[in-house]
């Protein structure tokens, strides 16, 4: 035909698809910096609300700390989920993504990875600082940070399923929360539970291995489920 490039046989290639999505979404996130700070600020505010609500008794705060920090991380994750697909859906890019020769699950994995790097990773870095407000000890801080490091990507992965199912719906955000929070419950239990276990003198590896296993399972299953949901939404 003309001087267009010949078509390489790329159908089914996973990593170039992931790379395309990560690179594009990170570039977009960096160029609209205002959005990035919001989730972090939200996390900090929610965490600060709890002592204001229950009082500053150090023993009480120590007991509440792990749970509060994890619940706030869940809520911050929920807040950021619509960003994952909504913009692409609105401007027609999601259609082009679905029609790409790269596997849709691979492209979605890339988007989720970029999403986590922009929203979840900063949260993991901020959490030890906020945990100091609740009087957590050093080993508990480590358990918390490592747990969030393993847990927040899982939250992004599982949340992507809900985000894809509720694409373009009026009910949007609250419906997304209703659908996604039951999926989050095991992560919350094991994440906060790992810190509790450390406090009780148990080894931290137990809870962390479960979180790691959950992450692996989500890495395999969530992109596939999200891809199915995206195709359904585009129908």
């Amino acid at each position: 035909m003309r001087n267009a490039a010949a078509q390489p046989a790329i159908e089914g290639e996973v990593w170039p698809g992931v790379a395309w999505a990560v690179q594009r979404d990170l570039r977009l996130a960096l160029r609209s910096k205002a959005e990035l700070g919001v989730q972090l600020l939200f996390y900090a505010i929610v965490v600060t609300l709890f002592p204001l609500g229950v009082g500053a008794d150090p023993a009480l705060l120590r007991a509440l700390g792990p749970g509060v920090l994890w619940v706030a991380a869940l809520l911050a994750s929920l807040l950021s989920l619509p960003r994952l697909f909504a913009a692409d859906f609105a401007d027609g890019t999601l259609e082009q993504i679905a029609l790409s020769p790269y596997p849709l699950a691979a492209l979605i994995s890339g988007k989720i990875l970029a999403h986590w790097l922009a929203t979840g990773a900063p949260l993991v870095l901020l959490s030890p600082l906020l945990a100091v407000q609740f009087g957590l000890e050093a080993d508990e801080l480590t358990a918390l940070a490592l747990g969030l490091l393993l847990g927040t990507p899982t939250l992004s992965l599982l949340g992507a399923i809900g985000a894809a199912l509720t694409l373009g719906l009026r009910a949007g955000g609250s419906l997304l929360a209703l659908l996604t929070l039951p999926l989050y419950v095991p992560i919350l239990i094991f994440g906060a539970g790992t810190v509790e276990a450390t406090r009780a003198g148990l080894a931290v590896e137990g809870g962390l291995s479960v979180l790691g296993a959950a992450l692996l399972a989500a890495l395999v299953g969530a992109p596939l489920a999200s891809a199915a949901a995206v195709r359904i939404a585009l129908d």
């Binding site: 199912l165 009026r170 929070l181 039951p182 239990i189 939404a233």
Partner: protein, 248 residues
């Protein structure tokens, strides 16, 4: 004999509608009878428990309701899987019909569980694995119904809610085991709703009868509901129009 019936013919809503209508009394009547006998056995005949007095009798409603709530979710998920695999509208309609009944049984199980908890262990709500999983199951049912309701386009609603139901089906056992672990960690909930009173055989019979009654009730109600769903979704077809015309 089976080969001469084209079973797939019944996969069309139009053919299934009259079949469902004929089946309803075959489930509704036995359900009422079984419930009557089961309740009589459970509330009147079964002996008073030594520890829990007469309050324990609520298990004759609580346990069948809990079993049904979980069983119906699995059946709903199976219909959802069928609808995605075979692209069959009727399978989606069956799932849609099951959800409200499943949700109802879940609410009944939670309510009766709380009512039982108070006299038995002094607290309306104990965060044990079963009751917590039951609560999450209620959220799953409500989420399924909410998602269906939020999507206007029927085919997208069918397929999206099917994906949701299947994801939820995987989630329920995971939640159950994680809450069990959580309980061992927190040492709090030593109560367990498995500590039902030692079962005299008459109690077992009553419970089984009530379970079958609940099952037949669920089938009857689901068939009634699916007929209404079929009529609503197929309202523009000629057979539905003929039905409405004949009714006038």
């Amino acid at each position: 004999m089976f080969r001469s019936i084209n079973w797939f013919k019944f996969a069309s809503p139009a053919s299934f509608y009259p079949v469902a209508g004929h089946l309803i009394p075959w489930f509704a009547v036995p359900a009422a009878l079984l419930a009557a006998v089961g309740l009589w056995l459970g509330l009147v005949v079964a002996p008073t428990d030594a520890q829990q007095g007469d309050a324990y009798r609520i298990i004759f409603i609580h346990v069948p309701a809990a079993w049904m709530s979980m069983f119906l979710y699995l059946v709903m998920a199976a219909w959802c899987a069928a609808s995605l695999t075979f692209n069959a509208r009727l399978a989606s309609m069956m799932a849609q019909a099951l959800a409200p009944t499943g949700a109802m049984f879940t609410v009944v199980a939670l309510w009766t569980g709380a009512l039982w908890g108070r006299p038995a262990w002094g607290t309306y709500w104990a965060w044990d694995a079963r009751m917590t999983s039951e609560l999450i199951l209620l959220f799953l049912y409500l989420g399924y119904m909410a998602l269906r309701h939020a999507i206007d386009e029927p085919r997208r609603a069918d397929r999206a809610s099917a994906v949701l139901a299947l994801v939820g089906a995987i989630n329920v056992p995971i939640i159950y085991f994680s809450v069990r672990w959580w309980n061992t960690l927190h040492q709090g909930a030593t109560v367990s709703l498995t500590s039902a009173p030692k079962m005299a055989s008459i109690m077992l019979v009553a419970m089984l009868l009530m379970s079958f009654a609940a099952w037949f009730y669920a089938i009857a109600v689901t068939l009634i509901r699916v007929r209404a769903i079929i009529l609503e979704r197929e309202r523009r077809t000629t057979w539905a129009g003929d039905l409405a015309g004949a009714a006038r």
